[in-house]
């Protein structure tokens, strides 16, 4: 059903309409990219403050400590610590990963990769960014309130997040910010879903789409369905806080009538579990494509990968209860959620097999995007497999709310998505900005990220199994946790190292932006549509809408006579051996 509304929009002329309220998907993508990278920096700094407190409790945070916490001699105070981990989670998930993976890559790649001139609804796209911007401002504003920002964890479970536990305005602003962000995400989702369905270039079937687009499309569908669930949750929470309703109050804290605090957990995780996949699906898609591109052979079982990703998306909607085993749901529910959770390993195993199948007998180039993609396979393997321990009820009774959980979801959501995001940035940077990034710095950045990253998150798995629970300001008030000090210090030092190596990325990014080598149209020798046009593309992307004649992963066909080892999607497929 391609061939939707696809006209050339007039090119904007003023600075304002070109860069600020731009309707151009490429500019909006860059806006989201900057937005995401800035929040990534803020969230990362918060992570360092958290880590410092855990490893060296009662010692001033070096350099910045006295500036940020003048009243406590540079030491992070306990209430600020709670705000820090709450904001770290919120910022990383909603304001760093989502804008980079979904906002930036979604906006940039979807129209270019399917041969469209822009999104289906450019104005909605612009509004989506500015709603996200507004939401970010609201969230940051809450940091300077007299009683501080929200401090109930990014999950904001009532009754802690009601007036009983969080009297300041911070939590209310958190709700408002999340709601605004939900509106922005829904707007984006409307656009992505419609664009993929209606604006594919003539000849491009669903399975001719690059897997990146598959991932982004599934993400958009999940977003449209499940973000409103969180929306409803935070509206009710806001009503509880502002109007005095009692949706989530119970027991002694509800003075009249009884709501149900656990209901919020249900609502939160009905959204929250798909959200995990919302974040990881674009990364999976990018990795699936890049593994094929840099192995110079077709993606192994591309159709099965796409269908497995779809299967995971569907399953993700019915497994959320594994986040709530310790609330003691009925045994029947508990068992059902455990069994359903376990079935996710089947599609996961299939696309892991396909990823490795893609590498098998390839001719692998280890350029930086490929290194980061291989990194994703490694860390997601670890993250996915540690999920087994947590999806199992009885081991979860011990591991729930310990650092094992923190390690697990950082491997899956932070490490994989971060590496996938870097892979995407290194890969599309030439197309986005028309210049190449420095490859040596990129490789240093990769190893400088990959090694400390495993130190951090594997260390978290270790202290978690050792019995250290989450969200504690000072673990060493417990005698039994004192033995974990050296591991905690190792984690913190790894975190500082990893943070330091991100500076190399920032330098590389900024330097390449102005001084990088001019990028050719197709620096990676890849056949998808965006590489058929100049880098950076002109305002309307395609002078002539391309006609797609073959799949996105046509590499290494021995019958090719063009002197290239790949085919553009616009070329008729050269028949290979049967």
């Amino acid at each position: 059903m391609s061939g939707g509304y696809n006209e050339i929009h007039p090119e904007p002329t003023t600075f304002w309409s070109k860069y600020i309220i731009s309707f151009d998907h490429k500019v909006i993508a860059k806006q989201f990219l900057w937005y995401g990278i800035i929040f990534l920096g803020i969230g990362g700094l918060m992570a360092l403050l958290i880590r410092w407190t855990l490893a060296y409790p009662g010692e001033a945070f070096p350099v910045l400590g006295h500036l940020l916490f003048p009243n406590s001699a540079g030491i992070v105070p306990p209430d600020s610590y709670a705000m820090l981990f709450t904001m770290h989670g919120t910022i990383m998930i909603f304001y760093a990963i989502t804008p980079i993976l979904i906002g930036a890559f979604g906006n940039y790649c979807i129209p270019l990769m399917i041969g469209a001139r822009d999104m289906a609804f450019p104005m909605l796209n612009m509004l989506s960014f500015w709603f996200a911007f507004l939401s970010g401002l609201v969230l940051l504003a809450s940091l300077v309130l007299p009683l501080g920002a929200a401090a109930g964890g990014w999950t904001s479970y009532p009754t802690l997040s009601t007036m009983i536990g969080s009297p300041g305005a911070g939590q209310t602003l958190w709700c408002v910010a999340i709601f605004l962000f939900g509106v922005s995400s829904t707007m984006g989702a409307v656009n992505y879903v419609t664009t993929v369905i209606t604006l594919r270039a003539p000849g491009m079937g669903y399975f001719d789409m690059p897997l990146t687009v598959w991932g982004l499309w599934l993400t958009a569908i999940l977003n449209a369905i499940f973000v409103p669930v969180l929306g409803a949750g935070v509206i009710l929470l806001t009503l509880d806080r502002v109007m005095g309703t009692t949706f989530f109050l119970a027991g002694a804290s509800a003075t009249s009538g009884s709501g149900d605090p656990v209901l919020f957990q249900h609502v939160f995780w009905i959204f929250g579990h798909p959200e995990v996949y919302i974040l990881i699906l674009p990364a999976w898609g990018i990795v699936s494509d890049l593994l094929s591109f840099f192995s110079r052979k077709p993606a192994f079982g591309a159709k099965a990968t796409a269908l497995s990703m779809t299967a995971v998306s569907v399953l993700s909607t019915i497994v959320y209860g594994h986040h709530m085993f310790t609330t003691q749901m009925s045994p029947l529910l508990t068992q059902s959620f455990m069994t359903l959770t376990m079935t996710i390993s089947i599609p996961s195993a299939i696309f892991f097999a396909n990823w490795l199948g893609t590498l098998w007998k390839g001719s692998i180039r280890f350029d930086s995007p490929m290194l980061f993609s291989l990194g994703v396979v490694f860390v997601f393997g670890l993250g996915g497999l540690t999920g087994l321990h947590l999806g199992t009820v009885t081991t979860d009774l011990y591991l729930h709310d310990t650092y094992f959980v923190v390690g697990h979801f950082h491997y899956t959501m932070a490490a994989s998505v971060l590496l996938g995001g870097y892979a995407g940035i290194y890969f599309w940077f030439p197309k986005m900005f028309g210049r190449m990034m420095n490859e040596t710095m990129a490789k240093i950045h990769f190893w400088g990220t990959m090694i400390p990253l495993n130190g951090i998150f594997f260390g978290m798995l270790m202290v978690g199994y050792g019995g250290m629970h989450r969200r504690i300001y000072n673990p060493f008030v417990y005698d039994s946790l004192k033995r974990l000090i050296p591991i905690n210090q190792m984690i913190t030092i790894s975190a500082i190292l990893m943070g330091a190596f991100q500076i190399i990325f920032v330098i590389n990014f900024l330097w390449s932006l102005y001084k990088g080598k001019k990028a050719p149209n197709n620096p990676w020798n890849v056949g998808t549509l965006e590489w058929t046009i100049p880098s950076p593309p002109v305002h309307h992307n395609y002078d002539v809408i391309p006609v797609v004649k073959c799949g996105p992963h046509e590499f290494g066909n021995p019958n090719l006579k063009t002197g290239r080892d790949f085919q553009y999607q616009t070329e008729e497929l050269v028949e290979g051996p049967a």
Partner: protein, 183 residues
């Protein structure tokens, strides 16, 4: 189907799915509250008199009917009739909001305050959230007034989208009427 009708329909479908998920979540919460309460309404609370909610239901149903007429008129290119029906739709929509305000005053006068517990929370909270959507719907109707004053080719598609949203609000209200007030 014309080139951008498909996009428009798809986008509206996604919007309605999103909005429906929001209300489904509310209804799910309501099911939890009701099934976990020993009696409903809880001890010491009386059922709300059906008179005002029933009036609201009639108003929004009739306005949905007129909204449907608007689309038929636009399909016939009879724009003056369409504007007339649209005005009726809007007036009934405003009347619905008045009836809802009446309901809130009535609740207050019978001693059911927002802070009086879970029953009141549901009654006020859910109708407020629906009312906010109705206000958005009224803005959409206003926008359609502007569109129909100097209609273009896109007028039909815009009418269809606004009509869908208005019907959606009606359906949600009817579900609330039966779920919250009747049973």
């Amino acid at each position: 189907m014309k080139r951008n009708e498909l996009q428009s329909n798809l986008a509206m479908t996604v919007v309605l799915v999103s909005a429906a998920m929001l209300f489904i979540t509310l209804f799910m919460g309501y099911a939890v509250f009701r099934s976990s309460a020993a009696t409903w309404p809880p001890m010491g609370t009386e059922k709300v008199s059906l008179w005002l909610p029933f009036l609201s239901t009639v108003l929004i149903a009739v306005s949905s009917w007129y909204c449907y007429q608007v689309r038929l008129d636009v399909a016939r290119k009879d724009f003056s009739a369409a504007r007339g029906h649209l005005t009726l739709t809007t007036v009934l929509g405003v009347a619905f909001m008045l009836a809802q305000s009446g309901l809130w005053f009535h609740l207050k006068s019978t001693g059911v305050f927002v802070t009086s517990g879970i029953f009141a929370s549901v009654m006020y909270g859910f109708t407020w959230i629906h009312a906010v959507h109705v206000v958005l719907g009224l803005f959409a109707l206003g926008y359609l007034h502007v569109v129909l004053r100097s209609p273009t080719d896109a007028a039909m598609q815009k009418t269809i989208n606004v009509e869908k949203f208005w019907h959606f609000l009606g359906v949600v209200w009817v579900l609330m009427f039966f779920g919250l007030f009747v049973f």
